[in-house]
């Protein structure tokens, strides 16, 4: 039970960090145009 909760908590944290970082990276590189 504890492992299951830890896994969910890690996924939530990862998702929050990912979305925040992605916003920052998208602002830094606005250029993907072929």
């Amino acid at each position: 039970m504890i492992n299951w909760l830890k896994k969910i908590w890690f996924k939530i944290k990862l998702e929050i960090v990912y979305r925040k970082k992605l916003r920052e990276l998208k602002k830094r590189d606005p250029f993907i145009y072929h």
């Binding site: 992605l22 590189d29 993907i32 145009y33 072929h34």
Partner: protein, 228 residues
């Protein structure tokens, strides 16, 4: 300047010359092209839109006959990551390729460009959108990006030195200023310098002719001081 046969430029869309109007196969109005013209050198360009630093490294590695060439390489955003897929896909030129440059702002994956909807669909069918999400979720940190960029820069430097080629390495953006061996524009990367100088840019934000003309003058002065 020494006797070079050719100036070869590498980089991303900024060096390919996107939005300059003559970018197929590559523009003759970018600052490296103007530099080649100024010195009376042949000009070749292996830059391509969306290139990552690993992609730039691969292009230089694969370039045949480096003899008597002067290379001008403008490095790009470290957050882009070039990978070799385990399968081929059809790129925008209609050729099969396994090399793909991921980027946090990949317009082909977020469907921003409707003119490439078939291409976008193909990438989604292959699961490259999922690959990109997993990559940036688990590996999208500055240390990772900067580490792989440094490996690319150092590898290209080694390859060019082994081939007795001279080279000019330029920072394309401020994220690259940590790499002290790169030439910058008054302490800024090319894009950020253009933005601060308020040079005209195209619809997709690429700096246009005035920017390249001013960059050419700046790099020419720098090259004169390098004793190439």
């Amino acid at each position: 300047m020494k006797k070079y046969k050719k100036l070869v430029s590498a980089g991303c869309s900024l060096i390919h010359g996107s939005e300059l109007g003559d970018e197929f196969p590559f523009s003759q109005q970018t600052y490296p092209a103007l530099l080649a013209k100024n010195y009376g050198l042949e000009y070749d360009c292996i830059a391509y839109p969306s290139a990552s630093n690993q992609g730039i490294c691969k292009k230089v590695m694969e370039y045949d006959n480096k003899e008597n060439c002067l290379f001008l390489i403008q490095w790009t955003y470290p957050s882009r990551q070039g990978v070799n897929l385990s399968y081929d896909y059809k790129n925008k030129e209609g050729n099969f390729s396994s090399w793909f440059d991921m980027a946090p702002n990949n317009w082909d994956l977020n469907g921003k460009l409707s003119m490439y909807s078939d291409y976008t669909q193909q990438l989604k069918n292959l699961g490259i959108d999922d690959l990109s999400e997993i990559f940036y979720k688990h590996l999208g940190n500055d240390f990772h990006h900067n580490f792989y960029t440094e490996i690319s820069i150092n590898s290209v430097e080694l390859i060019l030195r082994k081939n007795n080629c001279d080279f000019i390495f330029v920072a394309g953006c401020n994220d690259l200023l940590i790499h002290k061996s790169l030439i910058n524009f008054h302490g800024q990367g090319f894009v950020d310098w253009c933005k601060n100088k308020k040079f005209e840019h195209g619809y997709f934000n690429h700096p246009l002719h005035e920017a390249h003309s001013k960059a050419f003058k700046y790099i020419k002065d720098t090259v004169n001081n390098l004793n190439l």
